[in-house]
Symmetry: C2
Subunit: 219 residues, 2 copies
């Protein structure tokens, strides 16, 4: 990955990073990406699950998906991944903000054709979203693989942007009698809901019970 | 808002809606939007806080922001808002999915110039992100308003896409001894973290303590 004018950080450079380790760790803490592409001058932004392997992102969906069919043509695309860590409540409206970790990545996608490559990529996505699940479930059949488009998005450029820490108010505002601080937010799980048609009532697997996205709340 | 070929749902129509009430309720349950636009053929996707008023979305940021300066030129843009409600764990890899509520909106943005309009829009954003906060904090000064770009994004077309409910497996897979069900996920708050420089140690306001995004977990 390199960093050029597309990814250069124009403001608040202290919040930016092009460190691959930082970028990878944000990508690995998330499982939802927003993919942007342009059709006849009209921008589209589509949410999708993804997986990461080195500097490649894998996306998948129905072979009928407009997004996947369009991206497959090798057009320039943009992937954004953002994790909200908290609301920053300052003493002035102006200094309100959000604590977050975000990655923007540029590149082009190509369709995987080999069934073994497709299966590998689907496994990477599955393990990225919920590690441990893949070995428990029925693998994709030949027919299912054909009905699934799998894209490899090679990241050409990427940068991370992070805000953490307390509100930063104007010096004269610190004496205002206003509560200020961080409201930490994070993605949390509730109790798993078993499918009503569970056959032999198998136990909830540990990777479901203990599911957590690594997260630095509030910071 | 209308619905045309840009927003028509090509697959799984049972998951789609162009009902304005459905679209508004998803927009109001979220506070983070992903905005897509194209510069010289290169798509960009940027995360940003937003507020809604009728069929208008308000976005804001530094006047130095590349995104806001570009959108201000009246180019076509796309806004996506997605709320993750849970992971759908099926018996086959193929039928894994996500429960979510998502809105895609198309339109163009214009920069607000009148200070009173800008202040109004900033209040809408603030109340959208954390209702009750605006009246407690110092309002924007003239200088701060000048340093803030506020965009009004008039939604021309929008559609919602929703998945809820249990996994839907192939009939022959229901007998597999695999745990299946929903892992509900949602944005949750942790205990507020007071700023270390709080002056008179005011109490945490109720709208911070009881902050909740309305959410239909798991479904």
């Amino acid at each position: 990955m390199k960093s050029t004018s597309r990814t250069e950080l124009r403001r608040l450079p202290n919040r930016g990073s092009s460190d691959p380790d930082v970028i990878h760790s944000i990508l690995d803490d998330a499982f939802l990406a927003h993919v942007g592409f342009t059709v006849d001058g009209q921008p589209f932004v589509i949410p999708t699950l993804f997986g990461r392997e080195e500097d490649k992102l894998y996306l998948h969906g129905s072979s009928a998906s407009r997004m996947l069919r369009h991206l497959d043509t090798g057009v320039p695309a943009c992937v954004n991944v953002t994790i909200v860590d908290g609301l920053v409540l300052a003493r002035s409206a102006f200094h309100h903000s959000m604590n977050y970790r975000s990655v923007v990545a540029f590149g082009t996608a190509r369709k995987l054709l080999e069934p073994s490559q497709k299966t590998h990529a689907l496994r990477v996505i599955s393990e990225h979203v919920i590690a441990g699940r893949w070995q428990d479930v029925r693998s994709p059949s030949e027919k299912e693989l054909k009905a699934t488009t799998v894209l490899e998005f090679a990241v050409e450029e990427a940068s991370a942007k992070i805000r953490r820490g307390p509100p930063l108010d104007d010096e004269e505002d610190y004496s205002l009698p206003v509560w200020a601080g961080i409201l930490p937010l994070g993605l949390e799980q509730k109790a798993p809901v078993p499918d009503l048609r569970l056959a032999a009532a198998p136990e909830v697997p540990p990777y479901v019970l203990r599911y957590r996205r690594p997260s630095q709340l509030g910071g």
